[in-house]
Symmetry: C2
DNA sequence: ACGAACGGTAAGCTACAACTTACGGATGGA
DNA sequence: TCCATCCGTAAGTTGTAGCTTACCGTTCGT
């Protein structure tokens, strides 16, 4: 049972190429061809990544004629940020003291 | 040149097992054995993941006798969160209008 | 000082996922 | 209506990353 928790977006952003796509889309909404032209990978590859990102709720697609314009989904990004905040706060909760004071943790 | 930007922490959190470790460490600092006992993987595997997380600046280690206590690094988590915020803000910046208006992106 | 335990590293195997080429469906233009 | 373009999917290959077992160094307890 090697699956603890598929937090969607995390898996999606775990890939460098996908992060590059997200970065491109962060600048402005773009079509698949645009992204493929800006990245060193083929169009099909971009499509697949886009599918993953869309499945993760990080991007949304809009049909514009024969083109398909993808854009970032602020809600999805916000969800990730929120989760990160949780980790962060929880860490600070039981750490602040332990972290600063290496209370001479000899045996 | 298939490397766009290795944002450290992203690659680290891209793995479910590593996310589980982070979750465990978020609760409280723990030794390698503790983590291995809580997870369905061997100790060496935990060590390797810990190494990746440490290299990414997401955790720090403290020697406690024969044990090695690892803890989350709030700064590392904050860095991720900050970067996420950047994406988020940038998206909102050039989207709100473009998303609604398909400004006739003909060839 | 000896024994025991904990943790990190090395080497190897397996599985997954990212990328490619090829194909088909759909939409726009002439 | 016919052609061209764009996108998504299918099938296949390859690289890599995660896991395991085995070994070694280090540190504590007796």
């Amino acid at each position: 049972m090697p699956t603890y928790r598929t937090d969607d977006g995390w898996d999606a952003l775990g890939d460098p190429t996908r992060r590059a796509i997200v970065a491109c889309l962060a600048e402005r909404p773009q079509a698949v061809g645009e992204l493929a032209d800006a990245l060193p990978i083929s169009r099909p590859a971009v499509s697949q990544h886009l599918k993953v990102l869309k499945d993760a709720g990080l991007v949304t697609d809009r049909a514009a004629g024969t083109r398909r314009v993808y854009r970032l989904n602020p809600a999805g990004v916000a969800a990730l940020r929120d989760q990160l905040d949780t980790f962060w706060n929880r860490a600070l909760d039981g750490y602040q003291d332990v972290a600063e004071q290496p209370t001479g943790e000899k045996s």
